[in-house]
């Protein structure tokens, strides 16, 4: 407890942190995350209480304990179905965001492109997946491709809107500076517009991180025999509520994890303060 260890410097800011590295890390994690831990624990407790107090039958809403057991019993199934969904969500995330960013860049540099294709993008985003799915299967077959496309489509739109807004948020003064330096469009993009748009981009990526999981699941509903989406359908169809809830918990956990990965990357990338100083 009393010996000073180098590691404590990197530890999170617990005041007067002079404990051992491990204790420190644990305490630091707890100090930073205890509200989340308490809130989640509180929700779970409330859920357990409601189920118990109103004697809600399992088939309507299983108690957390039952869901916990379902984890144990279906561990292997859950794990096996997690990976394909994760893959689809991840690839959908990458492609959806990439295309959205590229489109946004195009829109910002060409107002004709923006006027012409922004409405088209809105239209595409507004087409329900259920109407799109048959065409996608027609073109891309029955494999993983249409699932990635659907996950990507769902990520795509918020990123497009945020990036268009973000790339336009660069301050006129900085753009003037770049003009005087006769910077090319791509230089302006990399040195000014992109950094200035990062708050918008990261907001979009946080939205996309959770949407991509949802997108992969929805894509699996339109026809898949594996993945968390298929497992949800399977559990619903067979009235296996604890398995259904366990799957939903896993899906939500995956989404939350991706969300916080993006938040973490943001905190590492955006280290400066906005424009005006002090």
């Amino acid at each position: 407890m009393s010996d000073v260890v180098q590691g404590s410097k990197q530890g999170v800011s617990v005041s007067d942190a002079k404990r051992s590295g491990v204790t420190d890390a644990v305490l630091g994690f707890f100090a930073n995350h205890y509200p989340a831990i308490f809130a989640v624990a509180g929700c779970v407790a409330l859920w357990q209480f409601v189920v118990w107090f109103f004697a809600v039958p399992t088939f309507m809403a299983p108690s957390p304990v039952e869901v916990f057991y379902a984890f144990g019993e279906n561990g292997a199934i859950l794990w096996a179905n997690l990976l394909p969904t994760l893959l689809e969500a991840f690839l959908g995330f990458i492609f959806g965001n990439l295309i959205a960013i590229l489109l946004a860049v195009w829109f910002v540099y060409s107002s004709t492109a923006e006027k012409a294709f922004y409405p088209i993008a809105v239209i595409i985003k507004s087409i329900p997946i259920i109407a799109l799915a048959p065409i996608l299967v027609l073109i891309f077959g029955n494999g993983i491709a249409p699932k990635i496309i659907i996950a990507g489509l769902i990520c795509f739109f918020p990123t497009l809107v945020n990036m268009v807004q973000g790339l336009k948020a660069a301050s006129p003064a900085m753009l003037d500076l770049m003009r005087v330096l006769s910077a090319s469009n791509s230089e302006v993009f990399w040195k000014v517009r992109l950094p200035a748009s990062l708050p918008f981009l990261f907001a979009a990526l946080k939205i996309a991180a959770t949407s991509s999981v949802m997108g992969a699941i929805v894509a699996e509903w339109i026809g898949s025999s594996y993945g968390l989406g298929a497992l949800i359908i399977e559990a619903t169809y067979n009235f296996r509520s604890p398995l259904l809830y366990a799957t939903v918990v896993i899906a939500a956990g995956l989404a939350v994890a991706l969300f916080f990965v993006v938040s973490f990357i943001e905190s590492k990338v955006v280290r400066w303060k906005p424009d005006a100083q002090h």
């Binding site: 259920i130 799915a133 299967v137 027609l138 029955n142 067979n238």
Partner: protein, 309 residues
């Protein structure tokens, strides 16, 4: 005034599976029984079982009989009380160029099914002694495209869905699931144990009036379709007129001639339970016949039902 309210939860879209009900409402058959029927919508993602089990609705209609067994096995206290379609219209469609007329024809072919139909295919194969790895199974959505494009050799659907059949055209071979030995009911009516015990009178009235409604619909198809389309304006009248013919062959057959509209048999349910039990589909306890069905309401309405048999 003074009519007892019965809420019926659908397990699928409002469609021609409701013909009898809308006719009975329009013709006052429910009122005759002292009840008023409210139809609660369901859909592809809403089987409605939770609504019935929780008591929000008094009775439910579900597409296919296995749902009742699976729910019962999972501890949901529901029981089937009548079978709307005596034969399940679920069928495998193939092209004449690559026909699937009997289960053995499936060997070496690609069959596209909805994920929820996987168990039916497994049952079919097991019943007919075909190893599962001899058939390639792919997924399909709500469309028949894969058969048309040749991505699959068979797709599935309901024979009552005339528009789906139109898509496939005349170059089509139908193989009914029923004819392969997997004999399920469709459009099954169910209720909870509690309702069955405590709301017997109104439910009896419900079955009686519904039976009358279906009978009237069979006898006056054009008028019935008019009533249906008036109640659900989103439906397409022309297709419904075409559908009502084939549809009535599922709702009424030799069994109903003998036992009246809605009849079910213990033997059939027992066979269904066995099929599912053999495939290990019951995660909870294996239900007994009396767990999954009750003939009480059918028995109480035999007279009326036989009039419309």
């Amino acid at each position: 005034q003074g009519l007892a309210k019965i809420r019926m939860q659908l397990g699928w879209l409002a469609s021609n599976g409701l013909l009898g009900e809308v006719v009975a409402i329009e013709k006052g058959f429910y009122a005759e029984q002292g009840i008023e029927l409210e139809i609660v919508p369901g859909g592809p993602n809403v089987d409605g079982v939770a609504g019935v089990a929780s008591g929000q609705s008094n009775v439910g209609q579900i597409s296919s009989s296995p749902s009742v067994m699976l729910a019962r096995s999972a501890g949901v206290p529901i029981k089937a009380i009548a079978a709307g379609y005596q034969k399940h219209p679920y069928a495998y469609f193939s092209k004449k160029s690559k026909p699937i007329e009997k289960p053995a024809d499936m060997v070496g072919k690609t069959v596209a099914i909805q994920p929820t139909g996987a168990i039916l295919l497994r049952a079919l194969l097991a019943k007919n002694g075909i190893a599962e790895d001899q058939v390639t199974v792919v997924n399909m959505g709500a469309d028949m495209n894969q058969l048309v494009t040749g991505q699959a050799d068979a797709v599935v659907g309901w024979l009552t869905n005339v528009n789906a059949l139109k898509v496939l055209g005349d170059d089509r071979i139908d193989m009914l699931l029923w004819d392969t030995g997997i004999q399920l009911y469709a459009n099954v009516y169910y209720t909870t144990d509690d309702q069955l015990a405590n709301n017997t009178k109104d439910l009896t009235g419900f079955i009686a009036a519904t039976a009358k409604g279906w009978g009237y619909a069979r006898d006056n198809p054009a008028e019935a379709v008019d009533i249906l389309v008036k109640a659900y304006p989103n439906l397409d009248k022309a297709s419904e007129l075409e559908a009502i013919g084939p549809l009535m062959t599922f709702a009424f057959n030799e069994t109903t001639v003998a036992n009246g509209w809605g009849a079910m048999s213990k033997e059939n349910w027992e066979a269904q339970i066995k099929t599912y039990a053999d495939l290990g589909q019951f995660k909870g306890t294996v239900p007994t016949v009396d767990d999954v069905m009750s003939l009480a309401l059918l028995d109480a309405t035999t007279d009326i039902r036989k009039q419309v048999g």
